[in-house]
Symmetry: C3
Subunit: 345 residues, 3 copies
């Protein structure tokens, strides 16, 4: 719990109201209750102001402070101020301390300082874990896995042998890192023969990977997830993929083998990106887009097969007009017949 | 094992044949073997009647009992009678008893009566589990998780801190409840900054969630799965989503953040529903539909971008006719040229 | 580590260069470093030859051996020779030995010879595991599960009761076998009533299933995955599905209930196949295809609703031409008006 005054100090806000007003938690304006801090950013939400249960609110500097039962914190950017308080004062601490007696840690593994290991965790030979990292219950590492400092590895995660993770990485429950890629050749009878997948996965700093997502190891070398990449739940990243810095993949997106995504790419949900493609920086794929060719030009893309969004919208409008076009063709045919008859008479 | 007579008693059926005929299990008519109960519902399946291996069969009251080597159970609704016997007499009991010595249960956790906890299960401080619930092996709860009565939590499930589950809930293996939502802001350099996800997940009674599905916790408040919701495998439910009563989401469907689904909505497989939308009651989305706008009207919807199914079918038929339209436009152009020449001469 | 000579012996290659050249690992030509074996298969990769760091290379018999700092292995088929060395000499051994003291193995379970069981693994009553199989840490079986010889069951896998697995099967981390299918009837009030799922899953020899994929048990009988089937990550296989020999399902594909896929079917990523369909042998579905009808004819299929690829490509070309068609219709209308005016004057 903090007070309105503390929230003001962190954000440089001007207080109107009670500086000692308690803030137990944060809430959106339409859901807030007494004891809660909210914010009023853009005008569509102004309608919630008169009835909001919040007792402390971030508003813009020119805001009409018509209610007297609420403490105002005036700032330039209410949303950013709100998120600053959220991040600075309400980040969960995910309590876990020490190394639980039920964890299986090979004597050859190196565990850093202030690193906590939960129950039934398996850390076999050759692993190296940095400082201030937490590995939650029932997570299993393979041999020679390296994990950096300040990581949060939640429960029931699987990291296979030889994968290398940097610092400040978050893996949500059920994540699989380093599973075999989908690689086969055919024998003379056409039966698939598995190609051993002998590469690994390298994950750079500040990456977060959502629940039950899977990142396959490189076939021969590495699958690489670069600094700041954010991956949502149930995402598939195939072998040899390289994902550029700060790129974000929303839920249920899939990236097929050997594809290279640039920096600051955004894939909305259920996007599929085919194999062996190159996508440049600053590309946005809207939801469900099917990317079957390389994208050398930044922009917004849509559809399957993928098109530039504006072009796709034009085509979609034409498709919706097809019944009219069909009528107009029919009318033209009738008209022509009519004219033909006139001319021939 | 039951007998034909017992099946008749439960369903009010009239027996023709041997009341003591044993029923070891149930099977569809085309797959049934001796010792098995089947049913004949609709006429497409009548062709299997003469050769079915079943020795007991539910049929309609006016059925022509031409075979003498089979025991008939005549009822109004053979399918319903069959399912009644399946539910009443053949529901698996999923044996699990007591609290296994390898389970890690914090002394502050409260475990109800006749509740069973499997091997290596982790139940930390503040958790409360009701009566007659079973939590299978290697499942991990976070702090202060609440689970009601009569639940089945299968193996390798992850439920994160503070999530609240009602009664008679089934979670299949690999389910993740309460993972962080996909929420970031950008700093001045454009790097993504994680927004702490401090809400939880509330799951009401009679909900079932399929293998490896993930339900994210609310960003600030709750993600809510209402009574009777059924969720299939590999489904994604993002933060702040609210799913109405008895709604069913088939496999690999995804619902993006803050979207509200009504009651009795049905999403077939691989449907994607964008964020911040409202879908009214009694809406059906056919497979792979991409829902990019709110749906205020009940009905059947299809396609991406989503359309009413009838409209989509009309447009699809027009698209399939495009080669013909192109020919007709070409013919019109030729004809016009011809007429023009005639007129100008 | 092997030498160039050993690689030549295995593949029948002719050596030019140093037979004792060490091969520490294998790499693609554009990524290879000293101490690594690569290959030059098709001409698009020839541009990498002059700068490749590889010190041993498989080339075709007529290859111009212009570099003198590299050892050549001349063969008929460089790619196949490369993969032969990969498979024969560099297959990982996934070290796991004995039965770990923390594994929970019911006294009634039968464990074969040279079979290894990892930490915290749960093997309850009635299970039978063959010889030379490895079951990694924190994996949980249900009662009466049968697993054959030479299988690799990775960590955090869930196999539910009564499922039967053959020989040489690989299950990657997070796989769920035998979860309940998505089956309900409605009661008088329209509430969904769960149908007990009393079947199982049968997996034949040489099947591989990717990370976090889910295979539901049959409703009454079996879901069947036949010999040589390869399933990628995050794939959904619903109850009663039968998948024919050597069929391959890429990541995030879903197959709905009771559908039968033939032999050598290939589904690219994110394909969805509706329920109760039959797909014949040798069918290829390109990525994201939505299969809403049975496919009785081999070939390549695309789109949603699914079409033969060639037909789909023709329609797609027409859709891209729609703006032009619209212009041509408009021009025809203007022309007609013009002619009409001429005639009527």
């Amino acid at each position: 719990m903090i007070t309105a005054k503390e929230a003001a100090l962190i954000t440089g806000a001007v207080i109107t109201g009670n500086p000692d007003e308690p803030i137990n938690t944060l809430a959106n304006i339409e859901e807030a209750s007494p004891g809660e801090l909210t914010f009023l950013g853009s005008s569509p939400y102004e309608k919630y102001f008169t009835s909001s249960g919040a007792t402390v609110i971030f508003v813009k500097k020119d805001f009409n402070k018509s209610r007297t039962d609420i403490t105002y914190l005036e700032v330039e950017d209410p949303a950013r101020a709100f998120y600053t308080v959220l991040i600075r004062c309400f980040s969960p601490d995910y309590p876990l301390e020490g190394i639980h007696v039920s964890a299986h840690i090979d004597p050859s593994a190196k565990i850093g300082e202030h690193t906590a290991i939960g129950m039934n965790v398996v850390i076999p030979r050759g692993c190296r874990i940095g400082n201030n990292t937490k590995i939650f219950h029932n997570t299993v590492l393979g041999e020679n896995v390296v994990i950096g400092d300040g990581c949060l590895i939640f429960q029931n995660v699987s990291i296979r042998e030889g994968c290398i993770l940097g610092n400040n990485i978050i893996l949500h429950p059920g994540v699989v890192i380093g599973s075999d890629g989908f690689g086969y050749i055919r024998d003379e009878q056409g039966n698939p023969i598995k190609l051993p997948q002998i590469g690994n996965v390298i994950i750079e700093d500040d990456v977060e990977i959502g629940a039950n997502s899977a990142i396959d190891r490189g076939a021969l070398k590495s699958t690489i997830i670069k600094r700041g990449v954010k991956i949502d739940n149930l995402v598939q990243v195939a072998h040899n993929v390289i994902i550029g810095e700060n790129t974000a993949l929303s839920a249920q997106t899939g990236v097929a083998g050997s594809t290279k995504l640039g920096r600051n790419v955004i894939a909305a949900g259920q996007v599929g990106i085919a194999d062996h493609l190159t996508v440049t920086d600053n590309v946005i794929f809207t939801a469900k887009t099917g990317v079957s060719k390389s994208i050398p030009k930044p922009g917004i893309y849509f559809g399957h097969p993928v098109k530039e969004q504006k072009k796709a919208q034009v085509l979609e409008a034409h498709v919706r007009t097809l019944p009219e076009y069909a009528e107009r063709i029919k009318a033209l045919e009738a008209k022509i017949k009519e004219l033909e008859a006139k001319i021939n008479n």
